[in-house]
Structure formats: C-alpha cells, structure tokens
Amino acid sequence: MSSFKFYKPDNMEDLLKVKEELGGRALILAGGTNLLIYIKEGSIREGTLVDIKSLKELKGISGDNGYIEIGAGVTIAEILESPLLNDRVPFFTDTLKNFANPLVRNMASLGGNIADASPIGDTIPSLLVLNGRIKAACLKGERSVPLDRLFKGPGESNLKPDEVIRTVQFSIPERGKGTFIKLGLRNGTSCSVTSVAVWLAAEDGRVEDIRIAFGGVAPIPLRLKKTESLFKGEKLDEEKIRALSGEIDKEISPITDVRGSAEYRKQVSVRLLSRAVRICMGMEE
C-alpha cells in the first residue's frame, strides 16, 4: 500500500527548501496528469506531494526581441491562449492543439511535460528545434540546461533531486519557419506514435539552416544533427527531400509497442520528415 504526505509551499523558497530537504522524495505535483497516474498504477508508492500549482513564480509568459520565457507552471491551455506565443511562434502553439484533450490541457504544465522526460512529450520536439533551454533552480542557485542535453532515457533526465524547472526559454530564429507534425492513432486524446518538428530557413529553395527533432523514435526526444547537416546547403525539390529524409535511419532507434512496430515507426518517420520539410518550404499546406 502507498502512503503520501502533502505539502503546499507558499513561495519559491519554500519549494526549494523542501526539495533540498527531501530530494527525490519530494514529488512535485504540477497538473498531476502524469504523477497521479504513476501513483494510481503503483509505480510510485510513497513520498511527499509538493503542490506547485499556485506558485506565481512559476507562472507567466514573457518575451522581447525574439526571446521568450515561459514559466514551468504554465499550462498547455495557457500556452494555446497566449497572444504573444500565437503571434511570435504560431507553429509552437499549433503543436499543442492536438495535445491530449481540453480537460488535460487545462491541468497539464509545460514543466511537467519536460520533467517527465517521456520520449513522446509533445512540447519537446518543437522546443528542441527552437534550441530551447530550461532554468533549473535549487536552493544554491540556478543553472541553464539546453534541452538537448537534459534527457537520459525514458522518464530519466539530468535534473538533480533537489532541482525544479523554473522556466523554459528559447529565442526565435530571425529567419525561417517551423512546423510540427504528430502522428497519433486517433485525433483526440492520443499519444504520439511518432512526432517531428522542423525549423527551416531557406533562400531560393536552398537550405540555409535546418533543425530537426523527433519524438517517439528513440529512448529520448531527439535532435537529428547528422541529418540536419546533410540538408544544409542543399537545393530542395520533392525528390531531394525524400532522399535526404531517408537518412534519419542512421540516427533513430524506435521500439515496437501497442501503438506500432519499430519498422512502421522508422518508415513513417521518413515520410513525416519529408512532409514537415515540404511544409516549411511552402511546397505544401
């Protein structure tokens, strides 16, 4: 049987203190849309639930000069409704229209999606192509960690037991266009089978810069830097896009589960990347 304590810190300092004191046994409860399931399933059976929902320090979306900072406690619904984000990074907010369902979006936080370190966390591929970073805070201070160095494996990140994610930041590239495609087995409340985010800047059909990230094709959400380098400088037509997309084969290692086989994930990922690139190139809606 499980036994839990509950604690609701009044401010950031109290939060960091309890983290300092209890480390991993202080279970941060943001929206609870993952955590409560782990508890119900019995994979977490004891600890102190630390409710951060009402901490103002973790709220807020701000930005200037193409630099955006989102509080870890901001919910997916709040991101979707943010005029700033819809204006500056519409592809990122579009990403989240197929996130779970309205009930979950109202509860689920951005920080929880990242800290959960799921290979199919739907906010992550887009943040990866924006070169996103998190600010991890502990009583001693704060450090900034790039997202592509945060994840270790399914459910495992490099956050230290006494750390919490305070904010997520990224800069919007001056040029280019982003897109995110999620393949789920259904349209509502659906886990990604695989997902892809691409940021691409091109001049006369030639790639100046490209960033590619996938969810669901490896133990962690992945930037595909090798494939990116192959795209760079290339003049793209459909044929070329298809051929280069096929190169992801060497960087991904999907698994078979109830949502799809490894082979399907591999092959469909190639198509999804082609599509995402075509969309960024304005070749397709």
């Binding site: 049987m1 369902n101 393949l183 087995l185 259904r186 349209n187 509502g188 409340t189 659906s190 886990c191 089978v193 109830v258 949502r259 799809g260 086989s261 399907y264 092959q267 469909v268 198509r271 999804l272 082609s274 599509r275 397709e284 809606e285």
Partner: protein, 759 residues
C-alpha cells in the same frame, strides 16, 4: 389502433436524461448502505497454470479484513450446461464454468479469491498479501492451432466447443456456374465493450433472509444463477437492476452479482464491489476475434451462384455464450442476399486467451465485414456498380434464407443503401498525399432471441383512480431508453400523456419478468408485452364505458383522459368516471400480460435448417474517408446510416442507437483491438485500448426508414445491434476506393494501411 399516433414516433424527451446530465442518478456504485464492506477480486497472473499453493492467511489476518473466500468456500463452484444441437461432431457439450479457480487457471485475469474488508484501502492491501504458487501448464493462444488434435486442451478433450453449418443446394455446382469467384481470408479484432460504467453493485441480506443485489445488470434473471451457486431457493435471491451506464453485452453474462451474494451470504453484511477500469480489461470477456475464409461466386450478369465459408471464432478460456454467438454468425454469414448454393462451416474454439462472449452484434458483425468486402470485390471484378450488384441479389420478403427461414417483413435495403450513399453528396477532392474515397455496406441483423429458446416477456399495467397509469416491467434500462419505450407505448394505448404513466422496472421480486436487455429484444419483447397489457386494460375501460354511453365498444376511443365516441365526439365521459364505476363493480382496470415470441423446436443437429430468429432488421451505412498516403491514417469525413426500424417509438432514441452503433462500428473498423501476447493482456486501460473520440467521428447522418412491417409494437423492428455491423465494411470499401488497396484484417490501423500501400 388508430394510425395517427399522438406519442409514438415523435421526438420525445427522456425519463432520466436530465438527471443523468446533472449527476442525480444513483448508479450502481453511487449506492451505499450502513455497515457496508468493500470487496475486491484477486486475479491470476498466469494464462495457463496449476495452483500449487494458495496462501490467504496473511490477508485474512490483516486488521479490517472480514473475509477471504476461495473456491473451497463456494457451495457449487462449477456449473455445466449443454448446448442443444451439438451432438454430432462436437459431442455433448459440457460448458464448464467455475466461480473461482479451484485448481487450474485458464486465462490471465481469472478470479481466484474474494476479499471483503471494512475499507476499500484495506481490501486493496489484502490483495497484495495473497500468495499463489503456480506450476505452468501448456497453453495455446491461436484458435487455428487449438483446433489441431495435439493442441493442449483447455477443458475436456476437444477445444472445439461448438460447430454449426449451413447446407443449401450444391456449392460445387454453384461455383461451376460462376463466371467470377472471389476468395479471401478475413480477420477481425477482439473488441472491448468499453462501457463508461464499470461492473458494480451492492448486496445485502434483508430482514426476511433474502439476499438482495442492486447492480448494473442486463439480465436480472441471473438471480437464478446466484441461487444455484449458493444452493438456496431462487425465491431467496432478489435482483434490483439499476439504470445502466452502458453494457453492449458486457453486463449480459454474470458480472459482480455472484461474488457479492457469496460475500453477503458469508458475512451477513452489505457489500459493495466495483471493478476497476483495468479489471474491466483483463477480467471481463470481449468480442470474439474471427478468422473468416470466404469464397463467393457470381455470374457475369451479377447473380450470386454460391458461397462457401469457414468461420473460426476464438472463444477464449471458457464457453460462456460462444456457441450461441456462433449460431448468429452462421445464420448471418450469407449477408442479406439470396444465394442458391451455400456451404458454411463454423467453429468456436477454446484457447488460453481472455474469454469471448456477448458483444453488440453478437456474431453478426464479424461476418458482415467479410460478406460486404466480398460483394465489393465481386463488383470490381465484374466491372459492375457495387449497389447494382447488391440489388440483383438482395433478399426479398417471402424469400427463404440459407438457414431455411422465410423473410416475413419488408427488406428496404435498396432504399437504405441509395439514401445513405446519396447523403454523402459529392466526393471531396483530396490532395496529392491525402486521398478521398466513398464506400458503403449493407447488413442484416436479427432482433429477438433465438426462437427455440421460447422467449417470453411479461408486463403489468394498472389505471389509478385519478386516471394515471402504473406499469411494472422487469426490463432493465441499458441507457437506450427501454423504460421510456414501455411508457410511451402505454401512454399511446391508454390515451394518456407521458407524465401520466409511471414505470416501475427491473426488480426480480417486484416487477413481472420481462427478460433480458440483450439480443435487440427489449423493445420487441417488453414493448409488445406492454402493448398487450395496456390494450387489455383499455378493453376493460372501453367495455365499461360502452355500457355507460350506450355505444359500441369498437367505436370508442381514449384520449386526454376522456372516453369518447369516434362517431359522435360529443358523446364522452371523463376517464376517471369510468374507472370509478369499474372499481365499484369490482372490474379492476389492471392486467398482467405475457408476450410470447414465436416458438420453434430445439435445433437437433449442427446443420441449421429451421428458422432460428423472429425477424431481421436491414440497413446500410456509407462513409467518406480520407487516407493519408504517407502515414496510412484514415480520417472519417462523412458518415450516413440508413436503417429500417419498422416504426420508431421515440425518434431521438432511434437516432441515438444509430449514431452509437455507427461510432462503435467505426472503432471496430479502424482502431479497436484488445491485444494480448501469449495470453498476457497489453491494452487493459483506455490509454492503450483506444476508442473513437468526438474528434474521430463526423456528425452521423441518420436516415430512419419505417416500413411498419416489424414484429415489435406498432410494426417496430429492433435497432440496438443492427446499427453496428455495416460500419467496418463501409470504411474498408471506402479505403479501397480512396487508395486502391483492400484491408482484410481489421482494425484498419495506420500501420496496416501503410504496409499494404508499400506492397
């Protein structure tokens, strides 16, 4: 009866929809009693094993645990039932069931022990303290493997637990006359019912020593099974059925009632048992997966000449309703077509998978996927329009089916298919990577139970002194408005408003038994019974009034609580005055009526050659789909469903059934499959077992046809199950139209479509 209905066929408000929306209904799990215990079921985590040692001592001694029961505590733990007609090849069937595992576990999730404790937490903790030592036994998971002589045996010495056949004409000769022959193997998934409400109930012993069980039941007659297990008189068990939050056949077999009764009987205390969502997955039966081999022949002008089919269903580890589900598959296997030469062999096979049993469609659905895929493929080979081909072969009223049953109601298939197709309108344009297709399928599905089961349904109607009416009927309300239909019928016959009729339902010791809410029989049976009882009450009133008004009884009518002469409408009496006089004369305006379905002789051989069903409902559904060439994903853009319901009782409810059937059928067609690996369940929650959401289905265009030719009240036919079967083949036919590939193994998941596209 007059033809101008004042209630029947209108859009009626419901009895309970407002309370359901507001959360006021006391569903099974909402009910509490003082001193109530909480029960949990301890389940096997092996698919095939012997129990070497079962240790419940630690659980028993946990403070707060009141009792832990095992098979040894169950007075009659095993039951055996024989299936009529299974004498030639299968042998007399010993349909074994056990309440709790005695020695041998046959599927992952099988119930081994029951715990009752003072709190849900304690009951849960007690489960963790029960220990079992298993010895693995050989197992078989593939039904085709299980049919082989040397396969491990699940019970007895034959895994084939039912086999039925159709034999009509000479199939070989029929294929010789065919210009084209289409031959394919189809596979269908293990669909989960996924009803929103878990299996749940509360039991208690009353002050007369009767065990009461208030639970979500599709079959209140299970009080008899409870009495058998406990070895007590049937009169000592009372089932009170609640309003049900969905069942789809999932609450047709025994669910929590026997466990509850055992615990109350042992402890003398009220007990609550509600399954968890996960337990609904691995502890409860599913729809039978089928392998269907179909060979269909037709002449070049599109006349079907022969059908040969082999059907194999995976019954899972226990017999349950598999033999009967297989009868449905066999009878419906031809589709709603006249085929001169038919040879069908169907078997149901035990395996160590989760058991299969009743699920909306009851065997009629898997075959619909096969026969309607075959029809489209034949049409393609013949270069003929798919509807033209079907039109040449549709059954007509008066035709004899391959199971030797005459069709005695209208067959509006052509109209249904034409209207469903037309409702789709023009095909969307699609894009380079997303292709659009149209497809449709027709289906037939019986309503009413198999006639050799001699089904009856009773109902009691009474007029009160103020002219309002009370109805007593045992029929459970599954959420489809079964009680409402009874109310509407009574109100119509007695000329009352809906609010003037009160229905008391679903109590095995208070309401006359009306039978199960299964087999699309509720309206047909309990509706006819209510009509009969109401008409008998009406007769009492009219006869009394005819004396009072000096008018012929046949020329009197009841409306708005008055009895009046149709010839001289000014000649009238308040209904209340007639009732008062009836009372004074001792002619109580009440009636208990029993409606009997047609009775036929029990089947005596495994070849089905006598009528088995009261009648059939016919319909068609049409789909517009978009297929993503790059991912294989299907989006349903438009959906139309046309069914002949004979006579709608409440148009809103008819559309509700059609919409629900279509959506559940869509799930079966493109996404639902309860997966197991070597008998170990993989998709036991609604996170991994996915069903359509509101974002996965478009608005369903329901087209309600009314031939008035059915056997139900006022010519109604049943629509609960018939609305589900055409959906999957309609989608698969539409996918074919969109991208030129045919899916033989549903659900048509993105991966299956993607792989087929690569070939």
């Amino acid at each position: 009866m007059k033809e101008n209905f004042s209630i029947i066929g209108k859009r009626l408000g419901g009895l309970d929809e407002k309370d359901k929306v507001l959360g006021n209904v006391v569903f099974a799990d909402d009910f509490v009693m003082p001193g109530m215990l909480y029960a949990r079921v301890f389940r096997a985590e092996k698919a095939s094993a012997k129990i070497k040692c079962l240790d419940i001592l630690r659980a028993q001694s946990l403070p707060g645990v009141i009792c832990v029961l095992t098979a040894d505590d169950v007075p009659h733990n095993e039951s055996v039932k024989n299936v009529v007609g299974q004498t030639t090849e299968v042998g007399l069937l010993e349909a074994k069931h056990q309440v709790l595992v005695k020695e041998r576990v046959r599927y992952w999730g099988e119930a081994i022990a029951l715990v009752a404790a003072e709190s849900p937490d304690t009951a849960c903790r007690a489960l963790e303290l029960i220990e079992v030592e298993y010895e693995d036994l050989p197992a078989v998971f593939d039904p085709l493997e299980a049919m082989k002589p040397d396969a491990p045996k699940i019970h007895g010495d034959n895994n084939i637990i039912a086999s039925w056949k159709l034999r009509k004409g000479d199939a070989e000769a029929g294929f010789a006359q065919a210009d084209v022959i289409v031959e394919n193997t189809y596979r269908t998934p293990r669909q989960e019912h996924a009803h929103i409400e878990p299996e749940s109930g509360v039991s208690w012993m009353d002050d007369m020593g009767v065990i009461n069980i208030r639970y979500a039941a599709q079959v209140i007659e299970h009080y008899r099974d409870i009495a058998t297990v406990l070895g007590i008189p049937e009169s000592r068990v009372r089932v009170i059925g609640t309003l049900i939050g969905g069942g789809f056949g999932g609450k047709e077999d025994v669910t929590v009632e026997v466990f509850l009764a055992l615990l109350t009987w042992k402890t003398g205390r009220p007990v609550k048992l509600t399954y968890t969502r996960e337990e609904m997955g691995y502890g409860r039966h599913k729809r039978h997966p089928y392998v269907l081999k179909y060979k269909t022949g037709a002449t070049k002008d599109g006349k079907l000449t022969a059908l040969e089919a082999e059907l194999v269903s995976d019954a899972g580890a226990y017999v349950y309703l598999s033999p009967w589900v297989l009868v449905y598959s066999t009878v419906h296997s031809t589709g709603p077509y006249f085929i001169p030469n038919v040879k069908v062999d169907a078997s149901s096979v035990l395996t160590n998978n989760i058991m299969s049993s009743a699920c909306r469609g009851f065997g009629g659905m898997q075959v619909a996927f096969a026969y309607e895929s075959q029809m489209d493929e034949l049409a393609e080979k013949l270069g003929m329009d798919p509807l033209e081909l079907r039109k040449k072969n549709f059954l007509k009223r008066g035709d004899i089916t391959a199971s030797y049953q005459e069709i005695t109601s209208e067959v509006l298939l052509e109209e249904a298919a034409r209207k469903a197709k037309a409702a789709l309108g023009e095909k969307g344009r699609g894009s380079k990577t997303k292709k659009i297709g149209h497809g449709f399928a027709c289906s037939w599905q019986s309503y009413g139970r198999m006639t050799y089961l001699h089904d009856t349904s009773s109902c009691w109607v009474n007029l009160e002194m103020d002219g309002s009416a009370v109805v007593r009927t045992g029929i459970p309300d599954l959420g489809g408005g079964q009680r409402e239909s009874v109310r509407a019928i009574t109100a119509e016959v007695l000329g009352l408003k809906l609010e003037e009729v009160h229905v008391i339902s679903t109590d095995s010791q208070v309401t006359p038994l009306s039978g199960t809410v299964t087999a699309t029989r509720a309206l047909y049976m309990s509706g006819n019974a209510a009509k009969l009882a109401s008409e008998n009450v009406r007769k009492i009133i009219v006869e009394e009034a005819s004396e009072m008004l000096s008018a012929e009884p046949e020329r009197l009518n009841l409306k708005d609580k008055t009895v009046y002469s149709v010839d001289e409408p000014s000649k009238l009496l308040p209904l209340v005055d007639v009732i008062k006089r009836c009372a004074a004369e001792g002619k109580v305006p009440q009636n208990l009526a029993t409606f009997k379905a047609p009775f036929t002789e029990p089947i005596t051989t495994d070849i089905i050659k006598d009528p088995v069903f009261p009648d059939f409902t016919f319909g068609a559904q049409a789909a517009e789909v978009e297929v993503d060439l790059e991912t294989g994903k299907v989006n349903i853009l438009k959906w139309a469903a046309a069914h002949d319901v004979g006579q709608a009782i409440n148009l809103n409810r008819v559309e509700g059934q059609i919409e629900g059937g279509a959506v559940q059928g869509i799930g079966f067609g493109i996404m639902e499959d309860y997966l197991e690996e070597e008998g170990v369940p993989l998709t036991w929650n609604l996170h991994d077992y996915i069903i359509p959401t509101s974002k996965d289905v478009p608005d369903i265009m329901s087209i309600v046809l009314q031939s008035k030719s059915g056997k139900g009240p006022f010519g109604a036919k049943g629509i609960g199950e018939p609305s589900i079967s055409a959906a999957a083949p309609a989608i698969v036919n539409a996918i074919k139209d969109a991208v030129g590939i045919r899916i033989y193994h549903i659900p048509a998941t993105p991966e299956r479509i993607f792989l087929a596209l690569q070939e």
